[in-house]
């Protein structure tokens, strides 16, 4: 939920935390000795199993709502107040104090973090003739110069959007993180476009989520709200399929979406532009064309690899240093281990 508050492209930013966060963020969380939590609520997607969360850390929790403090994770130093005013006072005191940081320790800490970062936990395999969903987000980021407003629905596509779109400004990442409501993306994009008609607004979605509030395509036309819908179409309810693959021995129960509409025809029926993308070689041009059509709502139906999974993943009952990592990262770790360089 905090993506963009701190620039995503800043080297001090070590990534999203939690169930599908970066390897380095989760490892750092596990190994840290002081945790400064500002304006966050230790949601279960972040903490994983609370008994194994931050085993070595003292926790400072800054929050405006006292009911949030020590709700799931005990705060050693609770501070009730608005993030802005507390930070102003904190910075003032940091400037005035005579205490100094332990530079040697911090340098060593950064060295460790960088070594985790170098394993590139989000790296994915390209497959010939198949569009990987991560590639679609990378293309979206490039074509919009990282400057768009991005809304999303819920599922694998949501995770890829959060992982691969680097938000440098706050209020650009618009998604239902808490309740996880499918159907949120398109109407939310409408609301954003109404507020910022001159900015690029894209809704990253899946073929399941987009059908939940699809009728709002009509509102987009009536009020001239040309949003771009980036549909990562894998013909599965992807996140549920992933869980069924990992935890139910691939017993895919009711996750295959049969009888999908022809989304291009559907978009056209609503008065918009529909573009089907099936080939990785066509992805870039299609994305460019979609955003060139400034005055039209464009539905980009991108057919993606059905087998793609979101990594890393902290499974139920596991700690932050017990992540499931991608096959690619496993290879990297194996080679580091062989050289005696695995941290």
């Amino acid at each position: 939920m905090g993506l963009g508050a701190f620039p995503g492209t800043d080297p001090h930013f070590i990534g999203m935390l939690g169930m599908h966060g970066t390897y380095e963020a989760n490892m750092a969380m596990h190994e840290c000795d002081v945790l400064i939590c500002i304006g966050a609520r230790f949601d279960d997607r972040i903490t994983g199993v609370t008994s194994k969360f931050c085993p070595y850390a003292q926790v400072i929790h800054i929050d405006i709502d006292p009911a949030s403090i020590s709700k799931t994770i005990n705060a050693d130093i609770p501070i009730v107040g608005g993030a802005k005013q507390v930070l102003v006072e904190l910075i003032k005191q940091l400037d005035q104090t005579e205490l100094k940081v332990d530079k040697k320790a911090l340098d060593a800490w950064w060295k460790t973090i960088k070594s985790w970062q170098s394993q590139n936990s989000f790296a994915y395999e390209q497959k010939k003739g198949l569009i990987q969903p991560q590639a679609a987000i990378e293309e979206l980021y490039k074509v919009t110069n990282g400057d768009a407003y991005i809304t999303s629905d819920v599922g694998q596509h949501q995770m890829y959007a959060a992982q691969f779109y680097h938000f440098d400004e706050p209020r650009r990442w618009i998604n239902s993180g808490g309740l996880g409501t499918m159907g949120f993306g398109l109407p939310a994009a409408m609301g954003v476009k109404l507020a910022f008609p001159d900015k690029d607004v894209a809704c990253v979605t899946g073929e399941g989520s987009i059908q939940m509030c699809i009728q709002e395509l009509s509102t987009c036309l009536q009020y001239d709200l040309p949003v771009k819908i980036i549909n990562l179409n894998n013909r599965y309810l992807g996140m549920v399929r992933q869980w069924q693959e990992f935890f139910y021995e691939k017993r895919y129960s009711h996750v295959y979406m049969d009888s999908l509409p022809d989304f291009v025809k559907l978009a056209e029926a609503y008065g918009h532009v529909g573009i089907l993308v099936e080939n990785p070689d066509d992805l870039h041009d299609a994305m460019v064309e979609a955003f060139k059509l400034k005055d039209r709502t464009v539905f980009l139906d991108i057919i993606t690899d059905q087998e793609a999974n979101v990594y890393p993943m902290i499974s139920a009952g596991k700690a932050h240093n017990e992540m499931d990592i991608s096959p690619l990262q496993q290879k990297v770790q194996a080679s580091l281990k062989a050289k005696g360089e695995l941290v």
Partner: protein, 230 residues
């Protein structure tokens, strides 16, 4: 000036600085829609499902920092909005949802398109109100906006029975500049001694980590966060 309940609602929204309203008409809100149609300052976006209205207002609020405002009718209009309201509740987004309600004398009689909006939304709102007195309408709306946008933001539902909005009953209206809620006093400043303890702990840390969430964005504290970088 003397205004009817519907006119008070529209005038209040104007005075509060609301430029956009996301909604869907129906029987219980007909008078309000009539007043809406007679002016141009507040633009109404007609969605295709009340869930869309709440999500659109939510996206608008997240992007701008201003409260998102919705207008839906009674019964199924209100229940269709619940998912969007719960979405805003879980992410602490300022939303004010005006729901139409059956006339006051019919409440509880299983009237056409009646639902207990206050009851049904209670677990997923920061607060909700049922307007029982036309004279309290403006003040209630002000309270709703105040609660939605201060402290930890959240969705607020204001349930408005149709008779309150009747066009022929007019009362004097004055925009309530300030409102006080006796038991609601959101704390903004942190305790300086707690902050001092935090400073000491941070500077003595060998492996510190900062974990931030939506609260930084809701309080527009991004600049301060960036200058915290050592």
């Amino acid at each position: 000036m003397e205004l009817s309940g519907s006119e008070i609602i529209i005038q209040f929204l104007k005075d509060e600085g609301v430029k956009h309203l996301f909604g869907y008409p129906g029987g219980a809100v007909l008078h309000i829609y009539d007043a809406l149609q007679k002016q141009d300052d507040v633009e109404h976006i007609l969605v295709r499902h009340e869930q869309g209205a709440t999500h659109a207002a939510d996206g608008y609020a997240r992007a701008t920092g201003k409260p998102g405002v919705c207008l839906v009718t009674s019964g199924p209009g209100a229940t269709n909005a619940i998912t969007g309201i719960a979405t805003a509740y879980m992410d602490s987004i300022p939303l004010v949802v005006l729901t139409g309600q059956v006339p006051s004398h019919a409440i509880g009689s299983d009237a056409f398109q009646e639902v207990d909006a206050v009851g049904v939304s209670r677990p997923c709102v920061k607060h909700n109100f049922l307007v029982k007195d036309l004279n309290k309408l403006a003040e209630t709306l002000k309270k709703a906006f105040y609660v939605a946008t201060t402290g930890r933001p959240g969705p607020v539902v204001v349930d408005i029975p149709k008779d309150i909005t009747a066009p022929h009953i007019k009362i004097p209206y004055q925009y309530p500049e300030k409102i006080e809620l006796r038991s609601y006093n959101p704390n903004f400043k942190g305790h300086p001694r707690q902050i001092k303890r935090a400073v000491e702990l941070i500077l003595n840390a060998k492996r510190p980590m900062i974990y931030t969430g939506g609260g930084i964005i809701l309080d527009n504290a991004s600049e301060e966060l960036r200058s915290l970088r050592t």
